[in-house]
């Protein structure tokens, strides 16, 4: 295109429009959904998480209440440096006020630091590491859905109680896998069990787990703890079945999502024990939420991460509406403090609260995957085994080494 005077004037005029609009209109809340749009966690978070934000906005009636909200989204590619760059751009250039989702503990920890530095609101629903409300906690972060401690306590504790007192871990070699193994080891050992060995494999990019499975079997342990997630866990389970590991060892899915079970199929996944804080079919309110969610997501039922995005954004909108959008934009830490003061309640997690260290509290559930005969149809996958109340499901406040908590 050649640059003539007319296009130059048009371009200049176009460039000034957003600035003018910004100067005159009321403040706009900007929510940035940083998630995995193309990698192993896409199905359990990804586009479904973005849709959950829109659902929260609609059902809260944000525009009817006169709030202006914009939703941005980006793919962190499971790389902390990529995620950090996106978030800095969002905050510095695009005026984003809230960062939500961020499945992948490595990226999640990087983003927590930026949220604190820039005094923004950070609602993490997808990452697992319990450090987000522990040693890496800060006044700008809420860890919403689950964490490695809760998974370890719920699944690990239940397995040891059922006689699985010797463990072998297959662990994804990064922040999340290590945290999960560390937290589960603590539970197994304090319950009198022991860890016979572990193997850390390169993440991402590992597809063949047979070698590690054979090592697990040779260790003589009774339980195989899978400290991984997404397609890695799927491949581990598939291959464990193939190598006959499931006949001699019990598989403990330390972090399994509904979409993983969907991908495995019940004939492979049946009998696996796992923990979740949300299952679409667990009660009337959860079913009602899921029935509103599914039609916009190709019939897929929501995972706990997607439900968490809905729940956390709903609570944020309530808080921002109560304190005023301008104040909510101005001070991230103050907004988080206000969110902690208000008790939470939504269709996904029911009544709950947020603790001083940024840990959202709600019950944790232990599930067993149904056999094909027990399942009544698509997405009917879990039957309940046990419930841990919200105040006991997560790590005690004084044990997390969170700098916000003065002991």
């Amino acid at each position: 295109m050649t640059l003539n005077r007319r296009t130059l004037i048009a371009a200049a005029a176009a460039a000034t429009v957003p600035a003018m609009a910004r100067a005159q209109a009321q403040p706009v809340l900007r929510i940035g959904c940083l998630t995995d749009m193309s990698g192993p966690y896409k199905d359990l978070a990804g586009p479904g998480a973005i849709n959950a934000i829109h659902q929260a906005l609609e059902e809260f009636g944000a525009s009817a209440k006169g709030m202006k909200v914009e939703v941005l989204s980006a793919d962190h590619l499971n790389k902390p440096d990529v995620g950090a760059t996106v978030v800095r751009q969002w905050i510095d250039r695009d005026n984003v006020d809230v960062i939500v989702e961020v499945a992948n503990s490595g990226v999640a920890l990087a983003v927590a630091g930026i949220a604190k530095e820039k005094n923004k609101v950070y609602l993490n629903t997808g990452a697992a590491t319990s450090d987000l409300s522990g040693s890496a906690c800060n006044a700008n972060t809420i860890h919403w859905v689950y964490d490695t401690f809760m998974l370890a306590k719920s699944t690990g504790g239940a397995m040891v109680k059922a006689g699985g007192d010797s463990w072998f871990f297959i662990t994804a070699d990064y922040a999340f896998g290590k945290a999960l193994q560390r937290d589960t080891t603590e539970f197994v050992e304090s319950a009198g069990g022991k860890v016979m060995g572990s193997v850390a494999y390169p993440f991402p990019g590992t597809t063949d787990f047979s070698s590690y499975l054979i090592q697990a079997q040779a260790s003589g342990a009774k339980v195989l703890g899978m400290s991984n997630a997404g397609t890695d866990t799927i491949n581990t389970i598939k291959q464990a079945k193939e190598f006959g590991i499931t006949k001699k060892m019990r598989l403990a899915g330390l972090l399994l999502f509904l979409t993983d079970i969907h991908s495995l199929g019940l004939d492979v996944a049946q009998g696996i024990v796992l923990s979740d804080t949300f299952y679409w079919d667990m009660n009337d309110r959860a079913r009602a939420f899921s029935n509103r969610y599914s039609p916009k997501n190709g019939g897929a039922r929501p995972t706990m991460v997607q439900a968490g995005v809905y729940s956390s954004i709903s609570h944020y909108l309530k808080t921002a509406n109560a304190m005023g959008v301008a104040q909510a934009k101005a001070d991230g830490a103050a907004t988080i403090a206000a969110m902690k003061k208000m008790s939470t309640d939504d269709d996904c997690f029911g009544p709950g609260s947020i603790r001083a260290d940024g840990r959202k509290l709600h019950p944790a559930y232990l599930w067993e995957v149904k056999s094909p005969a027990e399942s009544k149809g698509a997405w009917d996958y879990y039957k309940p085994l046990a419930t841990t109340p919200g105040d006991q499901a997560f790590r005690p406040l004084d044990k997390g080494a969170c700098p916000l908590i003065k002991s």
């Binding site: 192993p40 990019g205 590992t206 597809t207 979409t259």
Partner: protein, 295 residues
């Protein structure tokens, strides 16, 4: 129990065998790459995506048309091979006169497009694909519990690799092919339709990738990223074996599978890197690769 390097012997034998199984995939994929590079001078970065397509076509045949594993083992490579022929005819053939880099960029872009399309349509967690009932179960080999399906993978991969090698090295069709690579105008002067030969070669290389994809479908989750995990390693295999060397890629594929398998026992964290360490050493000491011919 007998110990070797502090590892119980049965465990080590088991790992050797598993290494061979993974090596079978490396061998089949690098063989296709080597053929395509040898004949077309194209560094086919789309190979991983087409491997993934093979697995997806098998899945689609089963779920939409109720066509089982064994017919899919023939049909899927044919279907994906035809897709490869169309790609070659319409897009790739335009780049033969240019530098290798253009072909690399084009096929890399193609693989991103293909994987992106599948990701959009089917998500990222993958589709279940069952092991065919005749190959289910496992055999106790004494030192390890060997799934029958894995044994089938090694056998069929070895047969296909050897057959491909025999066709190229021992038949008159292979001779024509090799001659066409050396001196296309001369072969054309003898009345051979060289462009068609090249197109079919590309199709055959792609069909090999798709065949590997069908073999992989029951073991790995059939998901859009399954090719990306393999492709980098497979390129290292091709470089180590010697670019364009048929036998080199087969032998190196199996050998590196074993090297990687051993690394998983002694230092698992390095198992993703070890192939590249070998590649660096080979490039420093034998830049043409283990089986590469002197120019």
């Amino acid at each position: 129990m007998m110990m070797i390097f502090g590892i119980p012997a049965p465990l080590l034998f088991g790992q050797l065998l598993l290494g061979l199984i993974n090596g079978a995939f490396y061998a089949m994929l690098s063989l296709g790459l080597a053929i395509i590079f040898g004949m077309l001078n194209i560094i086919n970065f789309a190979h991983g995506a087409l491997f993934m397509m093979g697995a997806f076509v098998a899945w689609a045949l089963l779920n939409y048309l109720d066509i089982g594993y064994f017919p899919a083992l023939i049909l899927a490579p044919l279907i994906v091979g035809v897709f490869g022929v169309i790609l070659e005819k319409t897009i790739i053939s335009r780049l033969y006169k240019l530098d290798h880099l253009y072909g690399l960029l084009l096929t890399f872009g193609l693989s991103l497009v293909i994987e992106g399309l599948f990701r959009n349509a089917y998500g990222s967690s993958g589709m279940p694909y069952r092991i065919p009932s005749v190959l289910q179960g496992a055999t106790d080999l004494g030192f390890m519990f060997m799934p029958n399906y894995r044994g089938w993978v090694v056998l069929s991969a070895a047969v296909v690799c050897l057959a491909t090698w025999a066709i190229i090295e021992k038949t008159s069709l292979g001779a024509t092919l090799r001659a066409a690579t050396e001196n296309a105008p001369l072969v054309q002067a003898f009345g051979v339709n060289v462009p068609r030969l090249i197109t079919l070669t590309y199709g055959a290389g792609i069909a090999l990738a798709a065949f590997a994809g069908v073999l992989a479908a029951p073991i790995y989750s059939v998901n859009p990223n399954m090719g990306t995990n393999f492709i980098n390693t497979v390129f290292a295999v091709v470089v180590i074996g010697g670019m364009g060397s048929i036998l080199g890629s087969i032998v190196t594929g199996f050998a590196l599978g074993v090297v990687e398998g051993m690394t998983k026992v002694f230092y698992p964290q390095a198992s993703a890197t070890v192939v590249f360490v070998v590649m660096v050493i080979i490039l420093l000491t034998r830049p043409r690769g283990l089986f590469g011919k002197a120019a």
